[in-house]
Structures are given as C-alpha cells and as structure tokens.
Subunit: 189 residues, 2 copies
C-alpha cells in the first residue's frame, strides 16, 4: 500500500473576506491531527507556517510531548507526536519527503473545490494499486489559496454530510478524510 503524508498549511490561505493571509497555529489542531494521523498510519504530519515565532512555539509543543514531561505523562500522546514536524513552506515539506520516497503526488482537500475532482473511491484505488506516495494538503482559515491548489496533482472531492451544509473544522475534516481512506470496520474487513 502507498505511503501517505499530511501537511496542515497556515499560509497562503484565505480569510473570511477572500484575502490571502497567514493564520495562527492552533494548539488543538496539532494534538487532534497528530492523534488521527497516528491512528490511520500517516507517515508524517507537517505543520507548515512561515512565521518564525510560530515555528518556535510549535517546536516547543512537539518537544514537550516527544521528549519532555508530556512524553512520560502520556505515552500514547508521545507516539502521536513522534510523527509530527514543523516546516516553513510546502517546498520544504516536499524536499523532506523526497529524502525517503521517489514519487510523490499532491492531493489538495477543501470544502468547496471545483473542477475535475478525484473521488474518495478513486484515491482508495490508487492507494491500493500504485507504489506512489501521497501528500494530503489541508488548508486552515477559509481554505488554501489558489497558488497552493495549483501545485496539487489532484483535487479531492469534498466531504458531504446529509444536505448542503458543510462547515467541518479542519480537525474534523482531517479525521474524516483519513477514515474514508484507511479506516476499518468489522463488517468490511
């Protein structure tokens, strides 16, 4: 089965008014997404921000749980944070992954992507049949800016609930995407 990676991108993303901004890192994003990533077998979870002080803050959180007091206090949290890392840009993420894999495909996610979309079923099939690795890109704020979407090899279909309302937090969206791609159920094994 293919390897996959996650990037949580804080720049360039849109704000409520469609302007390109840098969002702040949210502590609970780091916790929830690390735990979900570890549960679903993600190889590495990258928190991406160009802001040096934010990188330092994230580094401090990661070290607390990887090696500090938190690592002893809660070993399952340590296991989750072991796969987390912080980078400045998407290019840094891609360079880091390139050290261990030869072919990486970028998959953009979002609540309102348009155009030719890859379905969850299509991505599951690719996972099973190809030897590539995949980077799932998640935007913060009101979603990834166009220049990030333009980098993607695929745009993934949006998560649909029962009607048109679709305003999941990025924490929920990551969990659902990972479960759709790699979750297991008793009746489906």
């Amino acid at each position: 089965m293919a390897n996959f990676y996650i990037a949580l991108l804080h720049y360039p993303v849109y704000n409520k008014n469609g302007q390109v901004v840098t969002t702040s890192v949210t502590n609970l994003d780091v916790h929830d997404i690390a735990r979900a990533a570890r549960t679903y077998g993600v190889k590495r979870f990258y928190i991406v921000t160009p802001v040096i002080t934010q990188q330092q803050l994230v580094g401090k959180i990661l070290r607390h749980w990887q090696q500090g007091y938190g690592a002893n206090y809660n070993s399952s949290r340590r296991e989750a944070f072991d796969i987390a890392d912080v980078k400045s840009t998407l290019d840094e993420v891609i360079s880091d992954i390139a050290k261990e894999v030869h072919s990486l495909r970028l998959v953009a996610t979002g609540a309102s992507l348009t155009g030719k979309l890859l379905t969850f079923g299509g991505l599951r099939t690719q996972f099973r049949e190809r030897d590539d690795s995949y980077l799932l890109m998640f935007g913060t704020g009101w979603g990834m800016a166009q220049e990030l979407l333009a980098r993607a090899d695929f745009l993934l279909e949006s998560i649909k609930g029962v009607a048109d309302y679709n305003h999941l937090s990025v924490r929920s969206a990551v969990s659902v995407v990972l479960d759709r791609l790699c979750g297991r159920e008793a009746d489906k094994r």
Copy 2:
C-alpha cells in the same frame, strides 16, 4: 430514515487512573461537534454537565453564536449552534427528546468497549429500516463510567485505523462516527 441525537457527557467519566470524575467542558468540543452534528443531520447536540457554573459558561457560548454578535459575524456557525443545548444529566436529555419522539435507543461509543458490540454496518441498517430514534453517547476524559454504559441499549464497535493505536480526540471520534453512519461519497451514491 431514523432521527438521531448526540450527548457529550462530562460526568460520570473516568480519568487517566480509572477514577470517576467530572471533566470540564472544552470550548472547541462545543464548536467542532456542533459543526459536525449540523453537517451530518443530527437533530440535537446535548452538552451534559452537572456543574452549574459550567452550564452557565456553555449557555453563554451558545447564546453568543445563536443570537449574539457571533450569529451575525458567522451565519454558518449560528446554524450549527442552533441545534446545541446544555443539560445536567443523561436523564434530562432523554426527557427532552421524549417530547418529540416515541421510541429512543441509546448507543454508547468508546475506544475500548468489550462484550457484544453493534457494528457500524448493523447500526446503518437499523437507521434505514426502523422508525426509532437514536441517542449517540460520547464520553469525555478517559471514557464513560460503567453506570453510563449500563444504560445503553447498544455498545458500538470502536473506530479502527490501520493498526492497534486508537487514541482519537472526542472531536475526531464524533466526526468519524457521524461520517460512517451518514456520510456520502460520489462513488457510493
């Protein structure tokens, strides 16, 4: 299709050492779970705590987004919070639901439930075929105490990722359970 409801329970739940405690309400639980509940068509999302000051705090958060400044600032957040409510106990939740439905089945969720478990597939089938309503119970802390589990009509199978590690946040767990029960994909319509 059946109606369903969610209860997020803060007492009685276990702490890390297996003692029965009351956990504090987490603001982001309220936000994330309200948004997921609204996305997946949940009729009502109950935040359950016996602590009066916590009930007051949750009430203040709910009103901010239901009617206050937040309702104008972010209308999709208002729609999510419109289905949220706060109660003291599970019995209060059940009484409230009994005003609108005649038959309610309680489904307990958890990461390490044992015994006879209802599968996700089994619950989906019940949803489709029966006219009952369902209350999905989610524990905070290290999970619901035995006296809450004993109230349930069904214990739902745990969420499985790729291996044995399973330490999702309650925010992630609610999102994944709702998606497994009611999510839609292009290839599966």
